[in-house]
Symmetry: C2
Subunit: 239 residues, 2 copies
DNA sequence: TAGTGGTCTAGACCACCAC
DNA sequence: TGGTGGTCTAGACCACTAG
C-alpha cells in the first residue's frame, strides 16, 4: 500500500486501496475478497482497521458480507441492489419492476450541453440508446441514454442489451455505478414521446435527467427519461 | 437500560436507549451528551460499544460530534443541517435558500386521504398552513402543510412562524424530523396556484407530496408543494 | 493541564457456513 | 472441524479544545 504524503487515517488508506483495486478490475463483480485477517496481513494493519474500511464499503453498497462465508463485490443483478436506482413506484407505494424495449441504438457526436453533462471534451462520440420501459405490460417510461464510446467501446453495435444496463456495464466493461444524481423537471409531453407512451401530447409528465457515477468518480452515463405520473410517481426517502 | 427479551446486540440496545431519551426530551436539540466513558459507565457497557452506537446516530444526522469538545444533539438551525431536506436547486446546480411568506393558517378536519397519509384516525383536526416560498425575491414554491393538532397543539394560533418549520417543531414541540419521504408528480397548474407563483395556468409543474418522520418514527407532517421547473429543479443524489 | 473525541491494536468469544 | 464475519472489551496513543 502506497502511503500518501498528507496524513490520512489508516482505515481511509485501506478504503482507498480497495476502491483502487475494484476500479482497476483486480476484483470483479461477484468475486470474494480475502478474509479480514488476510487483508490485514497483506496491508500491514490490524484486522480492526480493515474491518472499518470494509464496513464503510458495505454501507455504500459496494461490498456485501455474509457471516460464515466471506466478503463479496456487490453485483447489480442480485435482488438487493438491482433496481436500487429505479425510483418509480405505483401510487399506492408498491415497488414495480419494468421490462425494457430498445427503440433505437445509434452513435453520434455529443452536443455541447451533453458533453458538459458527461464531462467530456466537446464533439466526442457517444452511443444514443432510446428505450421504452413498460410496467405490467403498459409503456410507462421513455428514455434516452447517452454512453461515451471512449468508456463503452462497441456498445453501439450490440444486438442484445439486457434489461439492466448497470449489470451489463459491470459484466462487459467493468464499470460499477455506485451513485446516481437526478434532476427532476416537469414538462408538457410532445407528440413523439406521447406516442411512445400511448398518451396524448399536451399532458404533464416528469422528466428526469440522470448522471451515473462510476466507482472511480467518473460520470459514465447521462440520460433523460419521461414518465407520466398518472399511474406512477418518483419516490425517494431522505435521511 | 432495559434488556429486551429477543436478542439485540449491545450497541443496538444502546442506540435504542439514546433514541428513546431523545424522543422523550431527556436530551434536547443543542444539548451535549455525557462523554463516551460516562455513558459507558452508566449503561454498563464498554466505551467502544457506546462509540459504535453514537457513530451510527452521527451518520443519521441525529447527533454531531466535535473532537475535543463533546457530542451534541443536532439542531435544524445550523448551517449543516438546515435546508438539508430542501431539494430545489437552480438549473446550474447552485443551492438556493428560500424566504417564506405564510398565506393562510387555519384548522380543519383532515380528509380521508390526508388522515391516511398522516396515519391518523379520520376526521382528526389538523392545522393547514399555506405558504409561498420565494427565491431571490421571486415566488417559486406554493405549498400546503398539514400538522395534526394532537402533535402540535396551538400551532394554528401562532402569529410568527419562522422560515424553518423543522427548527420550530424542534424548539417548540420537541419534534425532530430525521427523515422525509417524497413522491413527485407532474401536474398542470391551475389558476389559483399559478397566480401565487406569478405564472400562467396550464403550465407544467412539479408537485411534491412529502411525509416528514419524527425520530420516534411517527409521521408528524404531510405537505403538498408546487414548483415550476422553469428556473428550479428537484435535485437528489442516491448511493 | 485535563477532558473530549479519533485512531489503532490485540484478543476473546459467538454465530454461521461448508465440508 | 476450521474458517469466516459479528460482537464486545481493554488499553494505548493522538488531536483538538478550553481554562
Amino acid at each position: 500500500m502506497t502511503l500518501s504524503t498528507k496524513y490520512q487515517p489508516l482505515y481511509q488508506q485501506v478504503y482507498d486501496e480497495i476502491v483502487k483495486r475494484l476500479s482497476e478490475g483486480y476484483w470483479k463483480a461477484g468475486d470474494s475478497l480475502p478474509s479480514e485477517f488476510g487483508l490485514a496481513d497483506e496491508l500491514g494493519v490490524s484486522q480492526g482497521t480493515v474491518r472499518k474500511a470494509l464496513n464503510q464499503l458495505v454501507d455504500e453498497n459496494i461490498l456485501r458480507r455474509r457471516q460464515g462465508k466471506g466478503t463479496y463485490v456487490s453485483e447489480h443483478n442480485n435482488e438487493n441492489s438491482l433496481y436500487r436506482f429505479f425510483r418509480y413506484k405505483e401510487h399506492g407505494g408498491e415497488s414495480v419492476i419494468p421490462e425494457t424495449e430498445v427503440v433505437s441504438l445509434t452513435s453520434r457526436q455529443a452536443s455541447a450541453r451533453e458533453a458538459k453533462k458527461l464531462r467530456l471534451t466537446e464533439n466526442l462520440m457517444v452511443a444514443e440508446m432510446v428505450r421504452v420501459r413498460s410496467i405490467k405490460g403498459r409503456p410507462a417510461i421513455y428514455e434516452m441514454v447517452l454512453q461515451p464510446l471512449s468508456i463503452f467501446p462497441g456498445i453501439d453495435e450490440v444486438d442484445e442489451i439486457p434489461n439492466s444496463l448497470y449489470g451489463y456495464y459491470q459484466s462487459k466493461y467493468g464499470i460499477s455505478v455506485v451513485e446516481v444524481r437526478d434532476e427532476l423537471h416537469a414538462v408538457i409531453l410532445d407528440e413523439k414521446v406521447a406516442n411512445h407512451l400511448e398518451l396524448n401530447a399536451g399532458e404533464a409528465a416528469l422528466m428526469t435527467e440522470r448522471s451515473s457515477i462510476n466507482i472511480d468518480g467518473r460520470v459514465v452515463e447521462w440520460s433523460q427519461a419521461y414518465c407520466s405520473t398518472e399511474k406512477f410517481v418518483y419516490s425517494v426517502s431522505l435521511k
